[in-house]
């Protein structure tokens, strides 16, 4: 068993233990943070490993969120199959977006993905008869259960979030060690060389974006299922920026960086908002400082300065 896998398993075990140790407020926070970390892990696959700087991942997050919540609310589909529908919805949306957006690269790719996400956001507003637009809607508490496990309760919610987090973490850990992941890293490092070596770079980037979109969609669906709400604000621009921040803070191209970044950002906002109304300024200054002094993020810097085995 490699050190990376051991680290992942220890992280999952620590998170499981945290539920029994932490006060209720913090364990509740951690459930939400794990969902956000899933989102960031999906984003990391595109950005951190493949070098695709997307500003449109909120589209995939929202596709999963609406895929699940519309199916549950309007079609009375139970949670588990609705979760499957959410993955399909996010995958299809990511597939179509990727097929078009991947014709561009660099700054143009950022702009095109941003525009796709904005179109998705406006679509959610436009079909307000179904989505209730910017207001959003509640997923009935009675429907939020899988196999008899109440996902609206603190225990059910926490361990469902942990289960999804663990599955995605182990999947990404395996994926980036596999030849497929190595090839994505090769594309990130030198796309022209990867092309010259005979890899179908365009197809691989598309697959990476679809998998990334599906993981992001899973996070969106998990948020709706575990916290009982779906709304268009999750499709808006800030929700495309958040995973980028989490990944940059934690360390792009590291498997646990998204979790570290999500924890850091969550508590930075939570703690600084208790000290001052200008907490976004505090958050901004801290982010600038981190970018200046830890340009590769927290885990990225650790990997560079003594822990080269960090996955």
């Amino acid at each position: 068993m490699g050190r990376g896998l051991v680290l992942h398993l220890c992280t999952i075990a620590l998170l499981a233990a945290a539920f029994f140790v932490l006060p209720a407020y913090h364990s509740g926070n951690l459930a939400r943070i794990m969902v956000l970390a899933i989102y960031a892990m999906g984003y990391n696959l595109a950005f951190g490993y493949t070098g695709l700087l997307s500003l449109g991942h909120a589209l995939f997050f929202a596709a999963g969120m609406y895929g699940l919540s519309l199916a549950m609310t309007h079609l009375a589909i139970p949670a588990l199959p609705a979760l499957g529908l959410a993955l399909v919805a996010a995958g299809v949306v990511a597939g179509i977006t990727g097929a078009l957006a991947l014709r561009t690269r660099g700054v143009a790719f950022m702009i095109v993905t941003l525009m796709f996400a904005q179109a998705g956001y406006l679509t959610a507003l436009y079909f307000s008869e179904w989505t209730r637009g910017e207001e959003g809607f509640v997923i009935p508490q009675a429907m939020r259960n899988i196999a008899g496990i109440d996902l609206s309760g603190e225990t059910g919610r926490y361990f469902a979030a942990l289960f999804l987090f663990a599955v995605v973490l182990l999947l990404i850990g395996a994926l980036v060690r596999a030849p497929f992941g190595r090839t994505l890293i090769a594309i990130r490092e030198n796309e022209a060389r990867a092309t010259m070596l005979g890899y179908d770079v365009q197809r691989l980037k598309w697959i990476a974006l679809v998998v990334s979109g599906m993981i992001s969609g899973l996070a969106g669906a998990a948020y709706a299922l575990l916290f009982g709400y779906a709304g268009a604000s999750f499709a808006a621009v800030p929700y495309s920026i958040f995973p980028l921040l989490y990944v940059l803070l934690g360390g792009a191209g590291t498997t646990l960086g998204p979790l570290i970044g999500a924890v850091f950002m969550f508590y930075l906002i939570d703690l600084s908002s208790g000290l001052t109304d200008a907490y976004m300024l505090v958050a901004g200054v801290v982010l600038v400082a981190l970018t200046l002094f830890l340009p590769q993020g927290i885990l990225g810097t650790l990997r560079k300065r003594g822990l080269p085995w960090l996955p």
Binding site: R32, L125, R132, E134, Q141, D270
Partner: protein, 431 residues
């Protein structure tokens, strides 16, 4: 005995130490224990205040904050609730549903608040309410959304201090049809807020024998509106407009340029002009038009003593602006909801003999039992009627005319004008 003598000496020293120790303990207890006992009986009642300090709702949040602080001061000056002082525990929700839910969790599990209260924007309410219900934290919202009465939320969420958009909109229909015209063109933003107006008003207006001759939906990203105005039918007698956000100033200016001096009657909602000075450039075109107001911004000629005292307590002048800065215009049409909601929490806690979180269900039942609320210092906006089944309050609505750059009230609806069929009975849900 002899064996015990030395021991007695020892015991004496020990006894002295014990006595000293007990004395010190008693001294400490005399200060600490009452504190502990007070924690059970007279510790402050903590009200988690979910406030829009940042984000799109910040101008509302600023005034919701001032109003709530003033209401709490009044309650505390009068002896608090059940003999306990009230403490507001404010947390910024960023006008964001995700942060709103986090803030509610913080109130329930970390700040140890007795109840949560305060937020305005519907998406924050809808995003937060499921968590309030799951954490069994009474959640008193001041949002005017129809989400509470629609049955979407849960037994722990109540809106007893402000009326909802459905009742507001339908109550406008009789006045418009009887005083302004029978053919109405509606211009509204193409999202849920605008759709609510479109649906509720057109239904109520057609029931009055009127006709909606056009429904013009404006995309939410639009910044210029002139191209939509040719869609307004020539025979339009009244334009009903509910544009929101900063673009409202452009909308009004362009509407004025399009029509010039001969325009149909105009009827709008003050929501988009809350915290906006009526003398702002471009708003001259609203002169002579009509506005819904939840509470008249300008002190009226027949101002009640309650409105006068309420303004003074919050720090609002006769023009609806801050007494310390005439340019700092309040959100007067909505913020009374905070004042009244806090008074209802007080009344509910007193009626239920509220002592702590174990009495939360009793508090909700006490509020559900409320019906008529007379106009007074607890309800300076006017009398109210609470529907315990739908958790929604109903009350008078005001229609004002813009005259000389200020708004003068020309009509007050009855409470009956605002009523509609129940869509839910929350009292059937278990706690």
């Amino acid at each position: 005995m002899t064996e015990r003598l030395p021991a007695r000496g020892l015991l004496d020293r020990r006894g002295a130490l014990k006595t000293l120790g007990l004395g010190a303990g008693a001294l400490a207890a005399s200060t600490a224990m009452p504190g502990f006992i007070q924690a059970q009986s007279s510790a402050p009642i903590r009200i988690g205040f979910q406030v829009h300090r940042t984000g799109i709702g910040a101008s509302y949040g600023r005034w919701y904050d001032r109003t709530s602080q003033a209401a709490v001061k009044r309650i505390n000056d009068a002896g608090g609730i059940n003999g306990r002082m009230v403490e507001l525990v404010p947390e910024d929700d960023g006008t964001d549903p995700k942060r709103g839910a986090e803030v509610v969790e913080k109130f329930a599990t970390q700040s140890k608040c007795d109840v949560a209260f305060g937020t305005l924007f519907s998406h924050v309410v809808i995003g937060s309410a499921p968590r309030a219900g799951e954490l069994k934290l009474p959640y008193f919202v001041v949002s005017e959304g129809h989400h509470v009465a629609s049955g979407m939320l849960n037994r722990y969420t109540l809106q007893p201090g402000i009326t909802d958009v459905k009742s507001q909109v339908q109550a406008m229909a009789p006045f418009v049809s009887q005083n302004l015209g029978k053919k109405v063109c509606m211009i509204f933003p193409d999202f849920a807020f605008g759709h609510d107006h479109r649906d509720y008003f057109s239904k109520a207006f057609e029931a009055q024998g009127g006709t909606i001759n056009a429904k013009i939906a404006i995309p939410p990203t639009e910044t210029s509106f002139t191209k939509y105005f040719p869609q307004i039918p020539r025979d339009t007698e009244v334009i009903y407009h509910v544009m929101t956000g900063p673009a409202v100033l452009t909308f009004v200016k362009e509407l004025g340029e399009f029509f010039g001096p001969s325009r149909p009657e105009l009827f709008g909602f003050i929501d988009s002009l809350e915290a906006v000075d009526m003398s702002s450039p471009g708003l001259e075109f609203l002169e002579g038009s009509y506005m819904w107001e939840g509470n008249p911004r300008y002190a009226q000629a027949d101002q009640t003593e309650y409105d006068k005292a309420y303004r003074e307590a919050v720090g609002v002048d006769d023009n609806g602006a801050s007494v310390s800065d005439g340019k700092d215009v309040s959100t007067y049409a909505h913020m009374f909801g905070c004042w009244e909601t806090l008074n209802i929490i007080k009344a509910g806690m007193e009626a239920s003999g509220y002592q702590g979180p174990d009495d939360r269900a009793a508090l909700i039942e006490a509020v559900e039992a409320m019906t008529d609320m007379p106009e007074g210092m607890d309800h300076p906006q006017g009398a109210k009627r609470f529907n315990g089944k739908t958790h929604q309050v109903f009350g008078h609505q005001y229609i004002s005319k813009v005259e000389g750059g200020r708004m003068n009230r020309v009509h007050t609806t009855s409470i009956e004008d605002t009523l509609y069929e129940d869509e839910v009975d929350y009292t059937t849900q278990s706690f």
